[in-house]
């Protein structure tokens, strides 16, 4: 039920068009890249799918994160703008269900985006590398892996958005976080496990390093931790309201 309500709140806010737009923009990268520089990539050694993710995922992941940031800010902006959240606070719902409704909604949107993106990557691989035989499981595995790696980012960003009434503050924090993660040196494993940094990792590179269980485990733990953090935060906030 809470999910239905959260979905309803997003009506006319432009959430869905934003998701579609971002998904299309992200999916355009590999296509454009192949249209312009197909020879460069077809000459490379390795699995076509991995070549394409290597070449494009950085930017696609970044767009996904931009969407997560904008989506989280948007959802909480509709709450704060006309004081809707206050009405929610005085209705008999468990504290935090509003937050988790938003989380699930954002994850679902992200799910759709990732599926489309990996499908386009697979499609490009199949189109430009005639010898390539693709499988459903490979595409799904890749999409699922990216989804889990993005979960901590979603959770953290939603927390930031729920904590700041001013949309541009949460937006600023999100953008700064994305930025800081891109300029930090990438050779430390600990740093790589930070939210806003994990979404850049591709399944192939993590598999190559044999770190798949590590990444999945840590990302799962981070997601749960940030979720609990939000719950505690909601309790504490009542003292200062």
């Amino acid at each position: 039920m809470i999910l239905q309500i959260e979905a309803k709140k997003c009506k006319r806010t432009g959430f869905l068009p934003a998701v579609l737009l971002a998904a299309c923009a992200a999916s355009a990268f590999p296509i454009l890249n192949m249209l312009v520089r197909a020879e460069t990539f077809t000459a490379m050694a390795g699995t076509p799918f991995d070549i394409l993710t290597d070449a494009n995922w950085q930017m696609m992941a970044m767009l996904n994160m931009v969407l997560v940031i904008c989506g989280a800010c948007l959802m909480y902006h509709t709450e704060f703008a006309d004081n809707g959240i206050q009405k929610m606070d005085v209705l008999p719902v468990r504290a935090g269900s509003l937050f988790f409704g938003k989380f699930v909604l954002l994850v679902l949107a992200l799910c759709g985006m990732l599926l489309l993106e990996t499908a386009v990557l697979t499609g490009c691989a199949a189109h430009w590398f005639p010898a390539y035989t693709w499988t459903f499981s490979e595409t799904l595995q890749s999409a699922g892996f990216q989804l889990i790696l993005t979960l901590p980012t979603v959770m953290l960003m939603l927390w930031v958005a729920s904590a700041c009434k001013n949309m541009w503050v949460s937006l600023g924090i999100g953008v700064i976080l994305v930025f800081v993660m891109t300029i930090l040196p990438q050779d430390s494993t600990v740093l790589q496990l930070f939210p806003f940094n994990t979404p850049y990792k591709t399944l192939a590179t993590v598999q190559g390093a044999g770190d798949v269980p590590l990444f999945l485990g840590i990302c799962g733990a981070e997601t749960v931790a940030f979720g609990l953090f939000e719950f505690v935060f909601l309790q504490i906030r009542r003292w200062y309201a």
């Binding site: 432009g14 767009l63 931009v66 948007l74 949309m167 600023g172 700064i176 930025f179």
Partner: protein, 257 residues
């Protein structure tokens, strides 16, 4: 009402908006790691570049590639939201002020905020370069004239981009879309820079200017001369067009409703 008094009014509106903090945060977060990793500047990975230039270029690269455009986008949100949140703009439009003038003043505020961040960046560069020099026992400090010139060029190169973002913010009423489009447009700027039509894409101008500086400091990395033609006329054209559209459409929805 004179331009200057309008400007001072707009500054007043920024009071207590904590915008300074938001401009400062990325500057600090970007230079602290570069001090901590100062030793990496000696490992130039086969590129013939002096460590002090490497320190400068690497530091500014993150800035112009992402943080400068993103700061501009966020500032446009701040400027439009303060007006729209409590219908402040409606009040402004009911006062004897020309909307176009108001729009341009606000754009000027945007540029001044960028200049403020430029100032912070230069200060942060000198502080962190001094710190890195102390830690590494190597002089990372560059000639202030050089630093000022390059930094000023980078920010001048950002003006067309700022104009486009400002136009987006005035045209697209849903803030999330103006921000989303703005941020998303930053992502492929490096990719566009590698194509022949980079001069049509304002988001890549500052990065282009920094790359030519890189080219001068490390021979063979990039072009050493700025291709003024056809870039300059195109950039000026984009700026004027964007500002004209913004000025014409400024407050249009408020006036209609």
């Amino acid at each position: 009402m004179s331009f200057c008094s309008l400007l001072s009014i707009e500054f007043l509106k920024l009071k207590r908006s904590k915008i300074g903090l938001l401009l400062l945060a990325p500057v600090v977060m970007m230079w602290v790691p570069s001090v901590l990793n100062a030793d990496m500047n000696f490992d130039t990975r086969g590129i013939a570049i002096a460590p002090e230039y490497n320190f400068f270029i690497q530091g500014f690269m993150g800035m112009v590639w992402f943080m400068l455009p993103a700061s501009l986008v966020i500032c446009t949100v701040l400027l439009t939201q303060t007006e729209r949140a409590n219908k402040g703009l409606l009040k402004m439009l009911s006062l004897p002020v020309s909307p176009a003038k108001l729009c341009l003043v606000k754009f000027l505020i945007l540029l001044l905020l960028a200049v403020a961040q430029l100032g912070m960046t230069i200060c942060a560069y000198y502080i962190s370069a001094a710190a890195a020099s102390h830690i590494q026992g190597y002089d990372f400090l560059l000639d202030p004239l050089f630093v000022l010139r390059v930094a000023a060029c980078l920010y001048a190169g950002a003006i067309p981009m700022a104009a486009v973002f400002w136009m987006l913010a005035t045209l697209v009423r849903t803030p999330i879309f103006s921000v989303g489009i703005g941020l998303a447009s930053i992502v492929p700027s490096v990719l566009v820079l590698n194509t022949k039509i980079w001069f049509l894409y304002p988001m890549s101008y500052p990065f282009y200017l920094l790359m030519t500086e890189y080219g001068k400091a490390a021979p063979g990395v990039y072009e050493t001369q700025v291709q003024w033609l056809p870039w300059l006329p195109v950039a000026v054209g984009i700026t004027i067009l964007a500002l004209a559209i913004a000025a014409l459409r400024f407050g249009a929805t408020e006036r209609r409703a």
